[in-house]
Symmetry: C2
Subunit: 334 residues, 2 copies
Amino acid sequence: MKKSTIQDVADLAGVSITTVSRVINKNYPVKESTRLRVNSAIDKLNFRPNLLAKGLIQSCTKTIGIITPSIENLFFSEVIKGIDSFIRPMGYSTILCHSEGDNKSEVDMIHNLLNRQADGIIMIDPRKENIDSGFIEDLSKSIPLVLINGFYDGVKCNYILNDATSGVIEALNYLLGEGCTKVTLLRGKHSYSYDIKEEVYRDFILKKSDYCKVLSIDEGNDLKSVNSAKLKVISALKEKKSAPDGIICCNDWMAVGALHAAKSLGIKVPGDLRIIGFDNTIISQITEPDISTVDQQMTILGQLAAKRIYTMMTTDDHEIQKIFLETKLIIRNS
Amino acid sequence: MKKSTIQDVADLAGVSITTVSRVINKNYPVKESTRLRVNSAIDKLNFRPNLLAKGLIQSCTKTIGIITPSIENLFFSEVIKGIDSFIRPMGYSTILCHSEGDNKSEVDMIHNLLNRQADGIIMIDPRKENIDSGFIEDLSKSIPLVLINGFYDGVKCNYILNDATSGVIEALNYLLGEGCTKVTLLRGKHSYSYDIKEEVYRDFILKKSDYCKVLSIDEGNDLKSVNSAKLKVISALKEKKSAPDGIICCNDWMAVGALHAAKSLGIKVPGDLRIIGFDNTIISQITEPDISTVDQQMTILGQLAAKRIYTMMTTDDHEIQKIFLETKLIIRNS
DNA sequence: TCAATTTAAGAAAAGGTTTTCTATACAATA
DNA sequence: TATTGTATAGAAAACCTTTTCTTAAATTGA
């Protein structure tokens, strides 16, 4: 079944393509009788307007790209749903790209989005390398760009949405208050969101204690990180003198890994070891015990990013904004 | 920074746009010296070819659309990764759409993909209503379409990839073998994959037992289903006479819900109640006890779908194929 | 009735590529 | 020399819309 064009519709309805366009876009008065004729022609031919042509002439595609490192972490799923919930009703559609935490993929995907003439891009947890190289800063000069969790002070040129570092402090205060004396941080690589947490952790813990230890696994967002975290924590727990009695994990997957590590060694949680996760995804609720975690308000994070990019796309307000969102520690049984 | 076009590049390099096009696409010999000049002009102007224009003229966008009900279920994540792992290296990019299990969204997204001139569409667990209405069958006449888990015999016009129903039988055999006498099935709505499982369950169980009971929750793929499943199972377990001693859950989220239901009532798993999930996602490994589940080979499922759609897009082999994949019961401690 | 205004609809340009067809320059062959 | 062949590169059409500019027809006002 060959695709029909606006010309076919025009021929069938006995009008010009201009008129068909007007009927479709409802942006110009058309006599009722012709409107009906055109519409029935559209139905008969099953006509679908070619967005490539439309986008080409309007130089606007009503599309935003979302780049996420992973689709295996509910943190991202929730953020994405937040973005969608705001931007869809505004008539935009989204193109979701997952880079699997790969540098090059991330760049390729951005290029692809640019080539497709996306109107804006939201990046969740962009790769550190791509920030450091200046790539992202450059990018933000050529297209409305909002980063989620990609904040660090050095990047001045980007409008950045970021949840506060307050979560780490809240978690630390809680653990110290519960009597922990050896609190460690478990983090992943390649994302500034981990760096910030580490920085805050170090600054804060050194004021209160002389135990300061950071565990780092190779990745952080995919499923493999559960096991990596487990292995990493097992080896930390095996160290006689310096084994931690509290772990703050940079996301809930890692926290699950830590929990399993403790179990495998017969270490009681929360008796001998306390674990705190990050994100408050549902997986922190389904383990035994369920895991205390820092809520990140993912939906709101996404909505704010969407709102901001919408403003940038539709007005000439392109100034750089940094919005910080509150976090909240959810106490459970770990 | 205004976007530069192929004309700008041509002007700067002192050649025609034809030549620039040839340099970019490497589909025609160009003298080395001009090639260099053109390339440096491209770099200088930071030129990015407009895919709208290219797609328009080639009537091919090297794009496939993926429609999934949810991005909150690792089953889908794995399938999607499988698709990507095959189709990306072939030079295609993917547009991922999540319908949140909404009928209308699903249709809208398909229309959007058609309007964008996607070259093919893969649908995971398409909505029952859209199959029943004939919409999907019609669709498959106008674009290469592959369904994953959308199989039922009535749909003759679609090429369908589907994992075997053998999983249900395997699970049933196992539970009966372990001495269960009241095995129920917990399912969701609006997807044929649940219908098939129910059908197989009914056919099989009635031959072996006179206990046949199906529990159904409103949705099945999002996070809310954990809680819905829990509530549904709690009320089933409370029924004195007919409380099940074995539950087959149509995905791992539901199995988690069922497990929590049992816990909340103080019912021992697997002692008093056995639970089997579906999908073998990592969440079936992180609960206590970990959950026996039916592995669905999601990655392969995705790869096969991608491979099939690739063939359909690049050759004139458009015949309807139905591929069935083996499942495997993974025995754990539930 | 005639001019002026309003309404409805068409013609053609534009958007940025690819592709077919054509043209030039030069070398090779007879 | 005349002919053929071979690189190399340009001109122009094509892809399918939207949009600006016109035009024709219908309505209004005096």
